[in-house]
Symmetry: C2
Subunit: 229 residues, 2 copies
DNA sequence: ATATTTAAGTGTTAAGTTTACACTTCAAAT
DNA sequence: ATTTGAAGTGTAAACTTAACACTTAAATAT
């Protein structure tokens, strides 16, 4: 440190969460209608302020739980935003997190209570402050990660079909994928467990359900999904 | 936001910079010996506090310039660190940035004045607070990026040889690379300009110098160095 | 002048990966 | 028994990556 502590200005430290969900057809984000000033009545990310007794990850967990009722959610710190007038009331730095949740599991009552709503990412309204930038960054981070290694199983229910997984990837990457190649590649990665159970809702034949196996995933990740220059 | 502004606690917002350099053989980081309490006399990253009139990127620029004399340095926000007692004096959140600089260009006098020193990353001393964690994350980020797409030209002088570039990649990735394959791959990427000039210092024959062409790089990056799942 | 030295510079082949592509199977419904 | 419609499956060609060793250029020494 080159400065003295005393010469410095304290700031409010906010957190904002980009909450992704996937409803079998589309990638969605959860937004709330602000019920206080400034920008009351406008749509925004869910957020809050860091408290004395918690670190950022804990604060993100707390904020997410408050709105969705969910614990142990996949949460990743995205970026810190610091434009001087980003919040018109007071100098506020915001640390953005993004969450991947299974859209079937969140608590509907809580969401109603906070006036929250799921929006498909293409149809989301304009957001307050710099939240649109945050969402853009989060999507681009999710897309980047997905193009480099398999991620996003947190967005699916624990049991899912290959079709669902493929559709999820198509949504995130925003491009069509070849069914046979997709299945071959996923199988080659050896990160799924095929169950003895079928989802009969999508066809007469039914389609086998799979579990994501995190242990296998981590083992294979260590061996390297990635490429070398 | 779910909380009221008033219910929140303000914090000190620090920045810490992991400054990478490359001295033709090794990847290095620039550290300073703290000349004030707490932890006076111990090695640390260069840091400072965010000021009222600047955003985080500007603060990182300012802090970096103060120590190295350099402007327009490659700087990227890494992560924010928030463990409650990470700074024993006062609750402080630190946003870490990492910088890639051409080690030949920094201002030696400034560095001496601040008691700063370059350490090879394998021989760096233990650092104060959570700075070791920050360094570990920065290296891992740099390595990850390097394994996915060509980066790090900022660590070399504007004119460099293929050998230097290869050595840099070998240092970052921590593995030996095949000379012919490396050159073929870099050439195929079409991001360098071969100059009519040789570096005669390393051999009797001399080796051609190259320029990194950022325009070409960005054009090719858009076309996609990356892979698809 | 000639020979020696030493890093720079160069290309091919085999192995592996990715892509493109279409028919069969299964279970339910009629 | 037949129809229906999504699920499930394999191969060959194109492309990419990996492994590998000799020639060239310029300076230095003789």
């Amino acid at each position: 440190m080159l400065d003295e502590y005393s010469a410095s200005d304290k700031v409010l430290l906010a957190l904002d969460c980009i909450i992704f969900g996937f409803d079998k057809e589309e990638l969605k984000i959860l937004l709330i209608k602000r019920d206080f000033e400034p920008e009351k009545g406008k749509w925004s990310l869910i957020g809050g302020f860091l408290k004395k007794e918690e670190n950022l990850d804990e604060a993100a967990d707390r904020i997410l739980k408050k709105l969705t009722g969910l614990n142990n959610v996949y949460l990743e710190q995205l970026h810190s935003y610091s434009k001087i007038d980003r919040d018109p009331v007071e100098r506020t730095i915001s640390v953005a997190y993004y969450a991947l949740i299974n859209i079937e599991e969140h608590n509907e009552k809580l969401i109603d209570q906070y006036g929250a709503k799921w929006f498909s990412i293409s149809e989301a309204p304009g957001l307050i402050f710099d939240h649109d930038t945050m969402v853009k960054h989060a999507i681009s981070r999710l897309r980047y990660k997905t193009s480099k290694e398999p991620v996003g199983f947190e967005l699916l229910p624990p049991k899912f079909t290959m079709k669902q997984l493929q559709t999820l990837y198509e949504c995130i990457l925003d491009e069509k994928l070849d069914k046979r190649n997709f299945i071959n590649k996923i199988n080659a990665m050896d990160i799924l467990v095929k169950l003895d159970e079928k989802d009969m809702s999508s066809s007469r034949k039914g389609s086998f359900l799979y579990n994501y196996d995190q242990k296998k995933y981590l083992a294979n990740k260590a061996k390297g999904f990635d490429f070398k220059i």
